[in-house]
């Protein structure tokens, strides 16, 4: 008994020493889409800076915005930029602003399952909007068939599948449809959740992908990483230059480069329907949300240090995980903006 008590005491003492010596810990929360990338980055960065531990909870973009506004985390992350109302809510509460830092890029792709059709289909913006508005209901509709000469499409009803949970993936898709279709913009609009005119809702990218795989004649949008990982068929989309582009890491980065010239100083930019011959039109940045003013200088320096590393060495880890890296113009601009964090 005595020996056991002694042992416990030793364990406690060791734990106490470790605890006292424990690293500076920084907490973040938000978007789920870049989570695999972020956890890899935080892990690699921790290996280089063992006294710094960054914890990230992937609770969703809306949750990330809410938590950083409440001040319960040190930084946030989101797939859709904060709107003016949210920025105002933040500065009203904290007396200072919040900055957006693009980290990587993602894209939504149109995925489908048509029995007997193995060809890679071309989609015009009009066809995509028409299908999601419920105006194009059959696979052999001229709006689809016209862009796919030589493919025999069946006269079956299209089963539209969309995300049921609020998500950045949905934000990108609806942001794109709002840009290319006035009717979509007026009737449905853009958001992490919208009032869908048609379609089944499935929870999460995995279930949308699974539903498309299992449902004949289905059509839906999925995050690029998921179709790459699941080896699913997906279509090309016509961009603003009139070329049909297949989404891949290069065409997504090209979209960012096309938009970089007009990049606003706060980085809150949508790059859907971006200019550029090789740009894939349904791409988007994902952002870190960093307060402009820190009360804790150690935390501030730690976060700035991480962002600097992420923009340089960190970008080398992106492609292994199927994320598109930032174009150099954007990186240069972000490094400059980092000085505004005080």
């Amino acid at each position: 008994m005595k020996r056991l008590a002694g042992l416990l005491l030793v364990v406690l003492a060791v734990a106490g020493v470790l605890w006292a010596d424990s690293a500076l810990s920084i907490n973040g929360a938000g978007a789920t889409f870049p989570y695999p990338m972020y956890s890899k980055w935080f892990d690699e960065y921790h290996k280089k800076n063992t006294n710094l531990q960054i914890n990230y909870q992937s609770i969703g973009s809306g949750g990330g915005i809410k938590q950083i506004t409440e001040g319960t985390v040190d930084f946030g992350a989101t797939d859709g930029p904060m709107n003016d109302e949210q920025l105002k809510a933040y500065s009203d509460k904290h007396g200072s602003g919040i900055l957006h830092f693009p980290t990587v890029l993602g894209a939504d792709v149109p995925a489908y399952n048509i029995p007997g059709v193995s060809a890679e289909l071309n989609f015009t913006p009009e066809a995509l909007a028409g299908i999601f508005l419920g105006k194009i209901t059959k696979w052999n509709d001229p709006a689809i068939a016209g862009a796919n000469k030589g493919v025999s499409l069946p006269a079956n009803d299209i089963v539209v599948v969309h995300r049921s949970d609020g998500s950045g993936t949905t934000y990108i898709w609806t942001d794109y449809l709002s840009k290319i279709s006035d009717e979509w913009k007026a009737k449905v609009g853009k958001g992490t959740s919208v009032n869908w005119p048609v379609g089944l809702g499935a929870k999460g990218n995995e279930v949308v992908a699974g539903t498309i795989k299992n449902t004949p004649n289905s059509f839906g949008y999925v995050e690029l990483i998921y179709v790459i990982q699941n080896q699913m068929a997906y279509g090309r989309v016509r961009n603003s230059s009139g070329a049909f582009i297949k989404a891949n890491l290069a065409s997504v980065t090209a979209a960012a480069a096309g938009a970089a010239k007009n990049m606003p100083d706060d980085f809150r930019v949508s790059i859907t329907d971006a200019p550029g011959k090789t740009a894939y039109p349904i791409s988007s940045f994902t952002w870190l949300l960093v307060p402009a003013k820190f009360s804790d200088a150690t935390k501030r320096d730690a976060i700035k240090g991480f962002v600097k590393w992420m923009l340089a060495d960190g970008q080398n880890y992106t492609e292994a995980l199927s994320y598109a890296k930032l174009p150099q113009e954007v990186v240069t601009k972000e490094l400059k903006a980092l000085n505004n964090v005080q």
Binding site: S164, V188, S193, N195, W196, G201, N214
Partner: protein, 329 residues
Amino acid sequence: MATTTTTVPSAGPIAGSRSFLARLREGDEIARMITFLFAASVVLVTVLLVFELWRDSVLPRHKFGFNFFRTSVWDPVFDQFGALPFIYGTLLTATISLVIAVPLGIGAAIFLAELAPARISDTLEFFIDLLAAVPSVIYGILGVFIVIPLMRDYIQPGLKKSLGFLPLFQGPAYGFGFLTAGAVLAIMIIPYIISVSREVLLSVPRDQREAALSLGSTRWEATWKVVVPFARGGILGSIFLALARALGETIAVTMVIGNQPIIRASLFSSGYSIAAIIANELTEATSNLHYQSLIELGLVLFLLTFVLNGLARLLIVATSQRGAGMGHA
């Protein structure tokens, strides 16, 4: 009842003869206070829950008022929120699940309690308890990969052919929807009904059974006309326990219901339930009105469960009184 009333008067004078301090020292009073606190905490949690839901849903309650329950548009972009499709979907899927699960569950319970040899009954009971403990996401996966293809390829076309003249079985059938959600819920709640009903049936006194048999009834007559009516209160209790689970089930439902906020008579149509939309949209609800409308849906679900549970109590009280009356006669 009789036993408690006889013990109270004898315990009274003994308790009274000891001072409060003495009782405190002996631990009785401490035990009483601590257990009272535990019991009170249940009430406290319930009250706090309602209070929080009420307080956090102030925006939609003021903006929409009663229209929240009457309209069926759910549009987070243009800030229009109506709860009707979700209430409809919740009640409809729960009803379907009961229609499937109640006959199956009670039938199985009667077999296990009355007709099966004890060894088989106990073995099966082990599996039933196991089923009751399976996490609901597993049932959701079962729904997506097994129930949905079965529905789409066999059951729904079959129903369309045989019962297609009913509005319940018309329209396009993709496998997702009310019927599938109800079926998955039924699979989930059957173990509850069997397990509780079996216990209740087993606790029916032997002499009830033997009296019926000695009056010349067959084994089935004794079971169906004497044992089952005697256990009616407990069986109803098991059904309402199952109903409560069906109303609140979230993940398994959202995986198979299709998540479309629409109201259709066809059971093949996709729909939505209250628990499902809260789980789907709460994390990404960015506008305050959207967030608070989801909280108000939570309040609606709470009230729905509350009312149905209240009705269940009344039903049990009513039937058990009738049962007791029959017993005296």
